[in-house]
Amino acid sequence: MSKVRETLITNCERKFLMKCLSEWRRLDGRSFDEFRPLELKFGKQWGSCYVSLGNTKVLAQTSCEIQQPKSSRPSEGILNINIELNPLAAPHFEAGRQSELSVQLNRLLEKCVKDSKAVDLESLCIKTNEKVWALKVDINVLNHEGNILDCASIAMLASLTHFRRPDVTCDGEEFIIHSYQQRDPIPTVIHHYPVCITYAIFNGGEYILADPSLLEEGSADAMLTIGLNGFKELCALHLGGKAELAPSIILSTVSKATSRATVVIEEIKKSVKADTEQRQEKASVGFHTEDNFKTTLVFGQSLDTWHTNKKKRNKKHKKAQPQSQNTVVIDKGSVEHVPQTENKKEVWDVDNNSDDDLIIVEKPKVQIELLTDSEEDDVVILGPVKNKK
């Protein structure tokens, strides 16, 4: 039944995507190894974290309880990971029912974090054979726009890093759990931070796209997921789908992924640190704070501030536009018409009126410097105008 609600990918869309790829372009204007912007937010409770990777959005919450340890591992705590495909994320996801996708995602996350022994489980032991802490990470997918796994793995790690469990003392017989007010809560010991990085593979490795979107994910031949930690150690490797890949391609993709892993881990550590500092300063933290409602209405506040914000932004955009009149920046700076100047090395020769002769800059992130006519000695930098809405 749920098949009816599923959004299918048409042959038309697939063909168009492949045509774009053959021109070394992606539909959202990213370069092939560019990731969508990552954003982390923390809730008021310890261990609640909201992560957005582009439009894919995930909420993770870590919770803990005291349990009897497994008899095979009497001195180790328990870590449970549970990913839930919320019906909010896509209409065909069913609440409270496991699907093929959710089992696969769960297993991959377990492989990445549990099997690589990232969390120190022995520190979760209270009394051998009797009482240990059981940590549980619940991951709720809120919006499915491709690459749930990367987003979920970041959310899970951030949530585990952010989480603090209450202190426990034992006076011979009884165990006392101290509330957060009584004693400072204890952070979880994490040995290393393994993150998942996913690539979509087309045409048997001809095109490899980082952080695939929903359409790219649906039409890819295979998906290569790489679990990596900050020490550049491989924690998980999973190739799903059907593609004959040469080992050299896998190795080169892994080495590409290492730099991304470092960036992501830095970002997680940085945001957790910033949040902890805010808490220490007794600033209000959580999802309800005004930062999360920027450019929207807050009850009791006049509308004027919103309008002035908008005006200011427009002004900024005008300033950000290159001053030279002959220069036109089209769509996020990926395509540019540039007038003919003396500096031929960095400037292309394009007729301003013909749309057919657009020049494609493969990597929009690269900043292009060009010198204008010698009368004005200033340098115009055509940066990609991001966040332009």
Binding site: L59, E84, P91, F293, F299, G300, L303
Partner: protein
Amino acid sequence: MSKLKSSCKLGILSRPDGSVLFSQDETTVVAGVYGPVESKANKALVEKACVEAHFRPKSGLPGVKDRLNESIIRNVCEAAIATAMYPRTSVVVVIQEMQNNGQLISCALNAACLALLDSGIDMKCMFAAVTCFIHKDESLVFTPPINEDQVKAMFMFVFDSVEKSIIASHTDGSFSVEQYKDALSLCKEECANMFDFFKKSLTIK
């Protein structure tokens, strides 16, 4: 009496037809609406649309309390949506808890209303929910006390925007008839502010 601070951000999710990030005081939820969509064969109604409500807690599986919330949300939404316009289909309302500070149900209902408005589905009326609490010292407040056992009773009322009449009432704890009437009139005043807020947030969008 201090009023509650409400904030909302419409259209935060790209997949659902309507979505909102909504917070009242410190309680925050995300709501999304899909609809009208294909209905499950056993749920399809011949003469009207079927409203499916899902309430997801932050952690763990949904329990009895979450099911209760779900049924309240479903009943209220069913009363407000013009279901007769969409026979043999489903309208899916999903609420995800983000942060709970006491008035979770009213926050979820207000978010559901905003998400429905955002989705553009036909509605008979808007609805707004207001929660108020009775302290141990018999005082009536909108913000819940920090200590949960200071609460003697909790009231939650839902009003419609056309006749400003009550469409749902949910209570918890013990109280007198007088207190109930007081709470009702207090919440009725506050709900007018909520409707105002809904309208403003829609015009801004």
